[in-house]
C-alpha cells in the first residue's frame, strides 16, 4: 500500500470451487478508491464468495490484494480499515448495546464512540437493551451505527437490507450517503433490490456463474446501453440491429441496445436510459434455464 493510485481491491484470476461447482472462475477486477460498486448477480453466482475472499473469510486460488494486504494472511490488520455488514443480522443475540459499543471501541483503533452514540440517539435503541430484544430493523441500525463510527477505507455490504421494510431500507442508504460516504471511502454492495441502490452506485459489476458479465462505471453504462420504445412498424428494423432484449408495453416494443449509435436509435423511436434492473434481466437471460 505505497501508492494512492493503486486500486483498493485488485483481483487477478480469482478462483474458488465448492466440490464440483465453480463459485468463482478466474475472475479479475479492480476497485478504485472513492467508488460505490454494486456487485449484482443471480443467486449462487459467486457474489458472496467474492466478498468472503475480499474479507479474508475464505481460501481461494489466484491473486487478491485489498488495501495492499493479503486477506488470507493479514485479516486482522486488514479489518482495521475494512468494515462489513452481512446479509442477515449477525450481531450476537446475547450482547447488550452498551457492551457491543464498549467492545468495538476497545478493539478498534479507528472507532469513535461519540459518532456511534450520536447516531444511536436518532433511533429507539437504548444502551441497556440486548440484541435479542431488538427488531430486525433496529439490529441493522445498531450495526450501521457501529460501522459508521469506524473511519474505515472500505465498507462491504452483503444484502444489508434483506428482510427490512421500506422505511428502514430507505433510511439505511440515506444515512450511508449523507453521514458516511466521502471520496476517501469505498463501498461494495451486493443486493437483489437493485432499484434501491441504482441511484447511489458509481460502478456496476454483474456476476454470472462465477464470471464477470459486465464491469463498467454508471456513466459508461449510460453511454453504452440505450432503451428505445419502438412502434410496431419499425420493430423489424430494430430487430435487425440485434437488441439485447425485447419486451412489449402497451402495444409498443421496448428494445435494449448495447453500443449502437444514438442517432440510429433515435430514428427508431423514443430513447431512454435503461434501468439497472432491465439491464440485469437482459444480461442474465437464460441463467436458470
Amino acid at each position: 500500500m505505497s501508492d494512492a493510485s493503486q486500486p483498493i481491491v485488485r483481483a487477478r484470476n480469482l478462483s474458488k470451487s465448492y466440490g464440483t461447482t465453480r463459485a468463482l472462475d478466474h475472475v479479475s477486477f479492480d476497485i478504485e478508491a472513492g467508488r460505490i460498486v454494486g456487485l449484482i448477480g443471480p443467486n449462487g453466482a459467486g457474489k458472496t464468495t467474492a466478498l468472503k475472499a475480499i474479507l479474508g473469510l475464505t481460501d481461494f486460488e489466484g491473486e487478491l490484494s485489498v488495501l495492499g494486504f493479503d486477506p488470507r494472511r493479514e485479516r486482522a490488520r486488514l479489518m482495521e480499515h475494512v468494515c462489513f455488514i452481512a446479509d442477515v443480522a449477525v450481531l450476537p443475540r446475547w450482547i447488550r448495546v452498551s457492551e457491543a459499543i464498549e467492545f468495538v471501541a476497545g478493539v478498534h483503533p479507528r472507532f469513535s464512540r461519540e459518532k456511534c452514540e450520536a447516531f444511536l440517539r436518532h433511533t429507539k435503541i437504548q444502551p441497556g437493551m440486548r440484541v435479542r430484544e431488538l427488531s430486525k430493523g433496529m439490529i441493522v441500525q445498531l450495526h450501521l451505527a457501529l460501522v459508521m463510527a469506524i473511519d474505515a477505507r472500505l465498507l462491504v455490504l452483503d444484502e444489508p437490507t434483506l428482510g427490512l421494510d421500506i422505511l428502514y431500507r430507505k433510511s439505511f442508504y440515506e444515512s450511508l450517503l449523507s453521514d458516511y460516504f466521502d471520496e476517501n471511502k469505498t463501498i461494495i454492495v451486493t443486493t437483489h433490490q437493485v432499484e434501491e441502490v441504482e441511484h447511489i452506485l458509481t460502478d456496476l459489476v454483474f456476476i454470472r456463474e462465477g464470471r464477470i458479465a459486465l464491469a463498467a462505471t454508471m456513466d459508461e453504462v449510460g453511454e453504452r446501453y440505450a432503451e428505445v420504445m419502438v412502434n410496431p412498424d419499425k420493430a423489424e428494423a430494430a430487430r435487425a440491429l440485434k437488441p439485447l432484449n425485447e419486451r412489449q408495453v402497451f402495444g409498443k416494443s421496448i428494445f435494449l441496445f448495447d453500443g449502437i449509435e444514438r442517432a440510429r436509435l433515435a430514428a427508431l423511436g423514443e430513447l431512454h436510459k435503461p434501468s439497472v434492473a432491465d439491464l440485469f434481466v437482459a444480461t442474465m437471460k437464460g441463467t436458470y434455464a
Binding site: 505505497s2 494512492a4 474479507l55 479489518m79 452481512a86 446475547w94 468495538v104 478493539v107 483503533p109
Partner: protein, 344 residues
C-alpha cells in the same frame, strides 16, 4: 503517500504489545459477558444452596433440641462447658474442611460449566453466524482462541473461588450467630481454624488446575472449531468408541494399543481434566505417575501444602498433557481460520 506511510510505521512491532494489553482484558470481559450465567451465577446458586441447607440443618437441630432436649451431633452445651484445647483444634479442623467443601462443590459445578463452555466457544457463534461480526473486527484468530483458553484456565476458576470464599465467610457468620444464641463464643474455634492459610493454599491450586486442564481445553476447543455439527458427539463419543474398539480388538487378539489402562487414562485426560483437583490421587496410568492422595488423618492444610501440590510440576504426566493441549489449541486456531459455516 504520506498518509499511508505513517499508517505503515504505526503497524510496526512496538504497537503489538500495547494493542494486546488493551484488547486482551476486553476479550476476557467479552467471554464473561456472554457466560455470566455459567461463570458467576452457577457458583453463586451452588453456594446459596449449601448455605440454605446449612441453615435448615441448624433449624432442624434447634427444633429437635427444643422438643426433646435431644443432642444432635456435638452439643453446644458440652462445647461450652468442657472445651479443651483438643476440642478446639478439632472444631478448627471441621471449619477448615467446611472451607474445602465450599471450594470443592463449586468446582464440581465448574467442571460442567467449563466443559460446555469450551464445546460451544468456537461453535455457537458459527451456528448463529455472529462469527461474521467477530471476524469483521481487527482481532486475530489466535487472540480469539487464546481469550477462551485463558477464560477456562483462570477467569472462571477465579470467579468460582471468590464466590465460594465469600460463601464460606457467610457460613462462618451463620455458625457464630448460632453459637452466640446459645451463649457460646465461637470465635476461639474460628481462630483455631486456618481460613487464610486455606485461602491461599486453595488459590495456589488454580494454576496447577489450569496446566492440568490444558489437554481437555485443547480437545474440546478443537472440536468446537472443527465440527460442522454436533461437537459434543465428536468430542465425547469418538474417544469412547476408540477405547471400546481397542478393547474389542484386544479381545479378538487383533492388533491394538496395549495397556487398556493407558488408553483409558489418555481419554480421561482429554475429557475430564477440566475438573479442578482431578490430579489428586491420580496414581495409575501413563499420565499419572505422580502419587498424590489424601492420607488417613492428615490435616487439609498439609494436603494442600504448596510444596506437595507443586510437586506435580515435576511429573512427566503433567507436561505431556501441556504439550498435547498446546498442540490441540494450535489445531483449534488453524480450524478457526478456515471453518465458518456449520451444517445446520
Amino acid at each position: 503517500m504520506n498518509h499511508q506511510d505513517s499508517a505503515t510505521t504505526q503497524r510496526a512491532l512496538p504497537r503489538f504489545d500495547s494493542r494486546l494489553g488493551r484488547t486482551l482484558p476486553l476479550m476476557l470481559k467479552r467471554e464473561y459477558w456472554e457466560h455470566r450465567g455459567g461463570f458467576f451465577w452457577v457458583p453463586v446458586w451452588i453456594c446459596v444452596a449449601i448455605l440454605v441447607v446449612t441453615a435448615l440443618g441448624i433449624l432442624t437441630a434447634e427444633v429437635f433440641n427444643a422438643r426433646a432436649n435431644v443432642h444432635m451431633g456435638f452439643s453446644l452445651q458440652d462445647l461450652h462447658e468442657h472445651m479443651t484445647a483438643n476440642d478446639l483444634a478439632q472444631a478448627g479442623n471441621a471449619l477448615d474442611m467446611a472451607q474445602l467443601m465450599f471450594g470443592a462443590l463449586t468446582c464440581v459445578s465448574l467442571f460442567f460449566v467449563l466443559f460446555f463452555y469450551l464445546l460451544g466457544a468456537l461453535y455457537d457463534d458459527r451456528r448463529d453466524r455472529s462469527v461474521l461480526f467477530w471476524k469483521s473486527l481487527p482481532i486475530t484468530d489466535t487472540e480469539t482462541v487464546g481469550s477462551k483458553v485463558l477464560s477456562a484456565m483462570f477467569v472462571a476458576p477465579l470467579i468460582a473461588f471468590v464466590v465460594s470464599t465469600a460463601a464460606y465467610v457467610v457460613f462462618l457468620v451463620l455458625v457464630c450467630l448460632w453459637a452466640g444464641i446459645h451463649g457460646v463464643n465461637a470465635l476461639p474455634a474460628v481462630l483455631a481454624a486456618h481460613p487464610f492459610g486455606m485461602f491461599w493454599r486453595l488459590l495456589l491450586t488454580i494454576p496447577v488446575d489450569a496446566l492440568w486442564a490444558l489437554p481437555t481445553i485443547g480437545w474440546l476447543l478443537f472440536w468446537s472449531a472443527y465440527a460442522r455439527s454436533k461437537p459434543f458427539l465428536w468430542a465425547v463419543i469418538l474417544p469412547i468408541v476408540a477405547v471400546a474398539v481397542n478393547g474389542w480388538f484386544s479381545m479378538l487378539g487383533l492388533p491394538h494399543v496395549g495397556g487398556e489402562v493407558a488408553l483409558k487414562s489418555v481419554v480421561g485426560r482429554l475429557l475430564l481434566s477440566v475438573m479442578p483437583g482431578s490430579w489428586i490421587g491420580n496414581g495409575a496410568g501413563m499420565f499419572g505417575a505422580h502419587r498424590f492422595s489424601f492420607g488417613d488423618d492428615e490435616h487439609v492444610l498439609t494436603i494442600f501444602d504448596p510444596g506437595r501440590v507443586y510437586a506435580l510440576l515435576a511429573t512427566p504426566g503433567l507436561w505431556l498433557g501441556v504439550v498435547a493441549g498446546l498442540a490441540l489449541i494450535a489445531a483449534a486456531i488453524w480450524s478457526r481460520q478456515r471453518r465458518i459455516e456449520t451444517a445446520t
